[in-house]
């Protein structure tokens, strides 16, 4: 029996440690440890409830937009506004969240995950005129391989030509991400940490030139998604098709849904959304979403045992670092007592099983190409494919939303903060189910809790000892070479883990910066 520790897992957001034990080359056990403590709940207590939307965005530099939407839905519900948001406000929120998802999924595939499959070093043999590829070639020549390393060696299967093309797309994707961010700022005001999404609607106005400016960027992104992103995911799937059977995981998926298509229904769990709410398991049976079934457990997390088994609306954040038997800063959320995976795969699988025709066509066309059954979606490649397809699904829906905007009409409704209220905001962020809960007393925040997607996916064991989704996805995996456990990186990164809120201090090593002291 031997032990492999990957700490930190690179090319993800934030700090994650994965520890697996292997026997005869097979993973027998796995432990996933979120190494960063998130203390936002402690900061918000006693503040004006409207502050929540501003501060929670700062939890994360990568998914601030999803947090701004979840917080705002949460405040809308607490303020009694959930069914009163003007259509312009609802649609602009959808456009802002759509732009964020597109940029984020492109970032994940090209800049975090693709390097597990694409061998960038092949660009050394490139002999063409593409300035970007020649820049990469120069980097390689000088031995400057970051940001393409570190990586595990031994299993790069794409042809030289595809490796080179994919590298050119890596560079192109940098530009596309930027386009997505620009698109977001048209209505969001700024990126990161948009200023537009507020309780009651949005602060931005609708103008014809904003719509036009959004549309031409969107068209360029749609072109990239159709002619580059999706073909690249399929090209990877073609030669790594064994990854349709690797990293299966817990077999249960949970989606809060996203992109509200109606505003009159105050219930987030069953209002009409582009990507639907619900649960689904490997038998493809759908379940309705019931947020009362969510509980968080802390037996194996660095929090006081007295806070275990709570619904997030009554959640307690009481850190107790070094607690015996604990190995993570992440709590273990469970739905109906069972382990659930979240992410684009969950949303797309739920929408697929509900029979939505566009999504059904998209997924069936991929599955038939690989002669695979829907069960194959529960895998490393299933997650990548679902992420690419959700990107296309929303990007193709957005032009229609732009046409529904009405330039002369309001995007915001005024409100009063109640003395006492409870609220809940549910939405799928780029990495999956994101829930915010608030309790207001004397017009101030009495309690605020977030259950974020990576808490679901990367959580440790619960009080019953059930391993989390990533832990389950790792257990049983065959490792070809324990010195290069590329299988582990591929499985973990397929979940798009984000444990951000990273500390951003510059810490120069080696010689002191004392000579640059100016004050």
């Amino acid at each position: 029996m031997s032990k492999i520790i990957v700490d930190p897992i690179t090319r993800i957001e934030g700090h994650l440690k994965i520890e697996v034990t292997t026997e005869n080359g097979v993973v027998k056990d796995a432990h996933s440890s979120g190494m960063m403590f998130r203390g936002i709940e402690l900061i918000l207590k006693g503040r004006d409830p409207r502050d929540a939307q501003r501060y929670v965005q700062r939890i994360c530099g990568v998914c601030p937009t999803s947090h701004s939407i979840a917080a705002t839905l949460n405040l809308d519900s607490a303020f009694g506004l959930a069914d009163k948001i003007p259509d312009n406000g609802r649609i602009i929120r959808n456009l802002i969240l759509g732009a964020a998802h597109i940029a984020d999924h492109i970032l994940h595939f090209y800049h975090l995950a693709a390097l597990d499959y694409v061998d960038v070093t092949k660009v050394a043999g490139y002999n063409g005129n593409d300035p970007a590829l020649n820049s990469v070639k120069e980097f390689i020549k000088r031995g400057e391989l970051a940001p393409f390393v570190p990586r595990y060696e031994g299993d790069y299967r794409l042809s030289d030509q595809i490796n080179i093309e994919a590298t050119a797309h890596y560079v192109k994707a940098l530009e596309m991400r930027r386009k997505g961010q620009e698109m977001l700022t048209i209505f969001g005001g700024k990126m990161p940490h948009n200023m537009a999404v507020v309780p009651g609607g949005v602060t931005s106005t609708v103008t014809v030139d904003k719509i036009a400016s959004f549309l031409w960027r969107l068209n360029e992104l749609r072109d990239f998604i159709d002619s580059v992103y999706i073909p690249d995911v399929l090209a990877v799937a073609e030669v790594y098709s064994d990854y349709f059977e690797i990293g299966v995981g817990c077999g249960n998926l949970l989606s809060y849904g996203l992109w509200d298509l109606e505003g009159g229904n105050p219930d987030y769990t069953n209002r009409k959304r582009l990507v639907k709410q619900g649960t689904i398991s490997t038998d493809l049976k759908l379940g309705a979403l019931d947020p009362n079934k969510i509980m968080e457990y802390v037996k194996h997390s660095w929090y006081a045992d007295s806070s275990t088994g709570k619904h997030p609306s009554h959640g307690i954040t009481e850190p107790q670092y070094g607690k015996k038997g604990a190995y993570s800063w992440s709590k273990a959320p469970r739905y109906d007592g069972k382990v659930y995976e979240v992410g684009p795969l969950a949303g797309m699988a739920v929408t697929y099983a509900s029979g939505e025709p566009t999504v059904k066509n998209l997924i069936d066309s991929v599955l038939s190409r690989f002669k695979a059954s829907p069960k194959a979606l529960f895998s490393v490649l299933g997650r990548h494919a679902a992420r690419a397809l959700i990107t296309k699904y929303v990007a193709d829906s957005m032009p229609g939303w732009l046409l529904q905007l009405k330039p002369s009409e309001p995007a915001y409704i005024d409100y009063e903060i109640p003395n006492e209220a409870m609220g809940m905001g549910l939405v799928d962020g780029a990495r999956g189910a994101l829930g915010h809960w608030i309790e207001i007393k004397d017009k101030k925040i009495a309690n605020y809790q977030c259950v974020v997607p990576s808490t679901w996916n990367l959580c440790p064991r619960d009080d019953k000892g059930q391993p989390g989704p990533v832990e389950q996805a790792l257990i049983g995996t065959k490792i070809k070479d324990e010195n290069n456990p590329f299988e582990l990186g591929r499985i973990v990164r397929s979940f798009d883990p984000c444990l951000a809120c990273a500390i951003h201090v510059i810490t120069p090593k080696g010689r002191t910066l004392g000579i640059y002291k100016v004050g």
């Binding site: 690179t10 820049s135 570190p150 809120c501 910066l513």
Partner: protein, 201 residues
């Protein structure tokens, strides 16, 4: 993020063929696009980028500072950006930027509130362990800009030694007490850039 001061000077934007010096005031070698822009506007484009997490006390000092600067600086040629903890923050910088001023917490173990001023050429970005996009934001962002052949002409980092990095919104008194001094320093930086780079006026 971490970077290392090394004995050798490393310039990561070489791949982008960035001009070592500002084009001469006269003469035929000036980049024509630059000439057009400068003559039409007269002033260099300056971007001030504040980096940090506002929720982690002194760690967020860069963001505190740009928020303060935004209410003071109204020059049309100065763009002030609150980059928060956005991992790829250099993608937020406009292509036409002539001078980039980054404000961030810098931890060397010196007295809290110590102020540093250095350029990327003074630190070795490559020897930092690539932990995540967050941790290597600066070096990766620079490389990615180079891959896109985007030219970053001049960059300076104004760093502040933090005291407390922990959940909370307020700055420590040691850092708080230095804010106006740092603001003055940035204003001076803007002033000098204006003077050094202004052409055709």
């Amino acid at each position: 993020m971490e970077y290392t001061k090394s004995a050798k000077t490393v310039c990561h934007s070489e791949g982008a063929k960035r001009p070592k010096t500002r084009p001469e005031r006269s003469g035929g070698t000036r980049d024509p696009s630059l000439l057009l822009r400068v003559t039409s506007e007269g002033s260099p484009r300056i971007t001030v980028l504040g980096i940090g997490n506002l929720l982690l006390k002194d760690e967020g000092v860069g963001v505190h500072l740009v928020q303060k600067l935004a209410s003071i600086v109204s020059d049309a040629n100065v763009n002030i950006i609150d980059a928060g903890t956005y991992p790829d923050f250099l993608s937020l910088v406009d292509d036409s930027t002539d001078k980039l001023i980054i404000i961030d917490a810098v931890k060397t173990g010196d007295k809290p509130g110590t102020i540093y001023r250095f350029s990327f050429d003074d630190v070795d970005l490559d020897s930092a362990p690539p932990i995540s996009l967050h941790d290597i934001g600066v070096s990766h962002s620079l490389k990615m800009m180079a891959l896109l052949n985007r030219q970053l002409k001049s960059t300076v980092v104004i760093g502040i030694e933090p005291k407390t990095i922990d959940f909370g919104l307020e700055l420590s008194p040691e850092v708080e007490g230095k804010l106006s001094e740092i603001v003055k320093l940035v204003l001076q930086e803007i002033e000098e850039t204006n003077r050094a780079m202004e052409v055709n006026k």
